[in-house]
């Protein structure tokens, strides 16, 4: 495949065949080698063929092979001629991340780290087939799908101030639970507030480096060594079922025979089916916000029980990295509303955007990028440049390079835990195999991913965090 280097961090896949727009790859010489090893670039090209796509089919520096769209894929579509694709959002609708700061220092919690991790394990349900504390009635679940994190706050899981520090304020009012199938609801009922498994985690971290003191302070990071908590989770079985339901109904209505991959199935933006998908997607989005809010509450409870206080445990921000949004962007010098799909990519708006909550509106939004188990995570600042060159988007994580089956042949969960312990990182998971599959060696170098984001100007480095205790789902 032809690949043209545009600058140190941007490559282009020129238009060919059925591509309607060129592909744009944010990467570096080093990361590009990984990309060539799987189908990522082919998938970027497939997305470039979808109707109504605007300017570029984009992939982020942590990109890797997905199905249909690549992971790390960003694509904007015209609201009249374009499409919406559930596969372009992903099965885990509103999979996302939040960070909570604390007033504690590493020294203060070091001797109680193990106790704290055990308590988090008791409070936060995690792993396969682990139900939430209470199985909710269908009516309550429908209320959650309608109200999102605002429901959790109303029920005592957190405070109103929490809602001021989330994308969409943790609650999309346009959600309509009637668009969500009974099957999806039955999967969601036992799962509210659960972490899940796979790459989902709840991590106690410390501030390792502050790159911009003023901005870091506004985010709530004051000193190196300060303790924070990061939660990475999504909409669980409910969201997966919504995606699957709409992939099937769009397939029934519009067919897949013309597509290179059945996972690229879509519906015209203005169709009834698209509108139904949005209503269901927003409901799943609210479910995921609620889950992360409940886990935030239990995290605070755990800190209070073990450390005696949970004062000043404030949310920095909560970001979605699997979602489609209607946003205004400047296209060829003209402001236009478009539908941006981000599948494994984070919104990275610069200062002034009305979508950013008031506390951050003048500086730009916090962008949270979780690393792999045992490596660094970052908080970045959204930029105006991202709005110009990547539809206001940047990376979402480290990005895998090694398959799970090969990871299992190469690593053992027990040794991974020992290895990390020697680096002073405690790990507790629901499964040894799960730990082996998620060891940091199977991921790209997150520092390099962030380096590309920072130098390409699509997300500016503010804080680097490193784990000290990991709860793996």
């Amino acid at each position: 495949m032809e690949l043209k280097k545009i600058s140190s961090y941007v490559w282009e896949i020129p238009k060919s065949g059925n591509m309607l727009v060129p592909g744009k790859v944010f990467t570096s010489e080093k990361l590009l080698e990984n990309l060539k090893g799987d189908k990522t670039l082919e998938q970027v090209r497939n997305v470039a063929c979808l109707k109504g796509i605007i300017q570029n089919s984009i992939v982020m520096p942590d990109g890797h092979q997905g199905y249909g769209f690549p992971i790390g894929g960003v694509a904007a579509f015209d609201l009249n001629d374009g499409i919406v694709s559930p596969g372009g959002v992903g099965y885990d609708i509103n999979c996302g991340v939040r960070v909570i700061t604390s007033p504690f220092t590493e020294k203060q919690i070091d001797s109680k780290k193990k106790e704290l991790l055990n308590e988090l394990f008791r409070q936060v349900p995690a792993g396969v087939g682990k139900a939430s504390v209470t199985k909710l009635s269908k009516d309550v679940l429908l209320e959650i799908l309608q109200k999102g994190a605002a429901w959790a706050v109303k029920e005592g899981y957190g405070t109103k101030a929490d809602l001021q520090r989330m994308e969409e304020y943790g609650s999309v009012s346009k959600a309509d639970p009637h668009a969500v199938s009974q099957k999806a609801i039955s999967r969601g009922q036992p799962q509210v507030g659960t972490l899940g498994s796979g790459n989902h985690f709840l991590e106690i971290q410390k501030v390792d480096k502050i790159y911009d003191e003023n901005i870091a302070k506004l985010f709530g990071f004051h000193n190196e060594g300060q303790i924070a908590v990061m939660i990475h989770s999504g909409s669980r079985g409910l969201g997966h079922q919504v995606a699957s339901d709409f992939i099937k109904s769009m397939d029934d209505k519009y067919g897949h025979e013309h597509l290179p991959d059945r996972e690229l199935i879509s519906a015209p933006m203005q169709s009834e089916l698209s509108q139904e998908y949005f209503k269901a997607m927003w409901s799943a989005m609210n479910f995921a916000f609620t889950n992360r809010q409940m886990m935030t509450h239990w995290t605070r409870e755990s800190f209070k029980k073990i450390l005696g206080s949970n004062d000043d445990m404030n949310i920095v921000y909560d970001v979605c990295h699997n979602i489609a949004k209607i946003e205004e962007h400047v296209i060829d010098g003209e402001k236009r509303k478009v539908c941006v799909h981000r599948k494994g990519a984070t919104r990275s708006f610069g200062p002034g955007r009305e979508e950013i909550p008031e506390v951050y509106r003048n500086i730009g939004q916090p962008v949270i990028i979780p690393g792999s188990m045992g490596t660094a995570s970052y908080v970045l600042l959204g930029t105006k440049k991202a709005e110009e060159i990547s539809f206001g988007s940047t990376a979402h994580g480290a990005g895998r390079v090694m398959s799970r089956s090969r990871a299992l042949q190469t690593f053992r969960g027990e040794s991974v835990v020992k290895d990390l312990e020697s680096k002073n990182i405690l790990v507790k998971g629901t499964s040894w195999k799960g730990i082996a599959e998620e060891t940091y060696q199977v991921y790209k170098d997150v520092d390099e991913v962030i380096n590309v984001s920072h130098n390409a100007g699509i997300g500016k480095m503010i804080v680097r965090l490193v784990p000290i205790a990991v709860m793996k789902g």
């Binding site: 799987d38 890797h64 092979q65 997905g66 199905y67 249909g68 992971i71 099965y91 885990d92 792993g127 396969v128 087939g129 682990k130 139900a131 099957k183 039955s186 999967r187 009922q189 036992p190 799962q191 899940g196 498994s197 796979g198 669980r236 079985g237 997966h240 079922q241 995606a243 699957s244 992939i247 099937k248 397939d251 029934d252 897949h256 991959d261 059945r262 996972e263 895998r400 390079v401 090694m402 398959s403 799970r404 089956s405 090969r406 299992l408 629901t430 499964s431 195999k433 799960g434 599959e437 789902g473």
Partner: protein, 144 residues
């Protein structure tokens, strides 16, 4: 995710890809489900305490396979049902519709069961159902 003579796992960067085999379509469908189940839990550890008959329809064979595998995920999430065995799986083709019935044996997930990894969803990505003289082989990618 250990391969057996009924199925084998193929390298896939982020998710799980496998090939399942059978003398006929029915056996290949059973093995495709057991391969997916192997990601979630070691089947021999699950007791056969609960029995469930499922009925699945599909507009084509791939759609039938997708719906069948998805149903196993749905009952895991909704009813905490861990799968041990599949028996009496039958596939019929009537009036352009494919219909599948099967008996699932398994148990309710409790703290005693050591599970591995959750499967988020079945996908159509690279899905293949190939029939020849030797039998049937099925390729599936599931989202983890």
């Amino acid at each position: 995710m250990q391969s057996t003579d009924r199925y084998k796992f193929i390298d896939h960067t982020a998710d799980a890809k496998y090939q399942a085999y059978g003398k006929n379509l029915e056996e290949a469908f059973v093995n495709a489900a057991m391969a997916m189940n192997a990601i979630i839990i070691d089947e021999e550890k699950v007791k056969s305490k609960i029995f469930k008959t499922i009925h699945v329809t599909g507009k084509d064979l791939k759609n039938l396979l997708y719906n069948f595998l998805e149903d196993i995920l749905v009952i895991l999430d909704a009813e905490m049902f861990l799968l041990a065995k599949i028996k009496n799986l039958k596939i019929e083709h009537i009036d352009k519709m494919y219909m599948l019935t099967a008996l699932l044996e398994g148990d309710v997930a409790t703290e005693d069961y050591q599970t591995n990894e959750h499967v988020k969803a079945v996908t159509y990505n690279d899905m293949e159902i190939k029939e020849d003289k030797k039998g049937v082989s099925i390729t599936v990618v599931v989202d983890l």
